[in-house]
């Protein structure tokens, strides 16, 4: 069995390297590829399925997956275009902006909505890739002020480099300007610019 340690490598590298290895192997040989994310597992599985190759995958531990593919002895003659077609990007490209425009998430029971929003902000802190910017406006401005249940999570993300921007007009409207607890105050031009330049906007 040949083992390829591709931990820390983003797609399409695991797919390219695995194809290269399989191309050198005889029918029945096993190529084990170690990767650190589920997207790479999906990409390798998709490649094996497309080529009718037998494969298994398992999670060995956190951020450590093994994909074993049985070679069929037929060399791969893939082009980069084919590989790109197989691959889902491991990480989104470009800037991600999260927009919090309300202190609640969804419509219905406002108490539940508050808990859902608090849960959303908490869940953001657990994502492998944090957003580049979080914009808070209108009711969302209440999430970044002293006493807000979401404040510690926003502070944690700011410490990790996330830009936290709260609408100054909104803080003023709610009488919360002096209570801002994280990040900085912004205006509509910056809000508009950040959203315009974002590749992904997440709005719960």
């Amino acid at each position: 069995m040949t083992t390829l340690n591709l931990l820390g490598k983003a797609c399409p590298i695991p797919v390219l390297e695995t194809r290269k290895a399989l191309a050198q192997m005889n029918a029945g040989d096993i190529c084990e590829t170690l990767v650190d994310n589920e997207t790479a597992v999906q990409n390798l599985s998709k490649m094996a399925t497309q080529k009718n190759l037998t494969f298994t995958s398992e999670q060995l531990e956190e951020h450590r997956f093994s994909v074993r593919i049985v070679a069929d002895g037929v060399a791969f003659h893939s082009t980069e275009e084919e590989t790109a077609d197989v691959c889902i990007p491991c990480t989104p490209q470009g800037k991600t902006v999260v927009v919090l425009s309300s202190e609640t998430m969804g419509e219905g029971d406002p108490v539940l909505g508050q808990k859902l929003m608090q849960g959303f902000v908490y869940a953001l802190t657990e994502q492998d890739r944090l957003p580049d910017t979080i914009l808070l406006y209108n009711g969302g401005a209440k999430l970044s002020v002293e006493g807000a249940a979401t404040l510690s999570d926003l502070k944690l993300m700011e410490e990790e480099g996330v830009e936290i921007l709260t609408c100054g007009t909104c803080l003023n409207h709610y009488g919360l300007t002096e209570k801002l607890g994280v990040g900085s105050i912004t205006n509509m031009y910056v809000i508009c610019q950040k959203m315009s330049e974002a590749s992904f906007i997440i709005k719960p």
């Binding site: 539940l112 808990k115 990790e160």
Partner: protein, 78 residues
Amino acid sequence: MSRPKRAQLLLTFETTTDALSLEQQACGILRGRLIPLPGDVAAGCGLCWAEPAENESSFLEFLNTYSPPYDRLVHRFG
């Protein structure tokens, strides 16, 4: 980089009402908080109470004292 992982005690619930009720009871007593139920833990309600593991004795005392309705108590590193 995401939030550092740590040892936790998760208290799961059958209903959201139970989760919200415990949050009110625990206010000012416990150090934990309601969080979304992690994907590897099953429960009827999508919210759970996450208490730092180092506060286990106080947490168990709280549960004995107040007997809040809950589903399971799970030790988890996450």
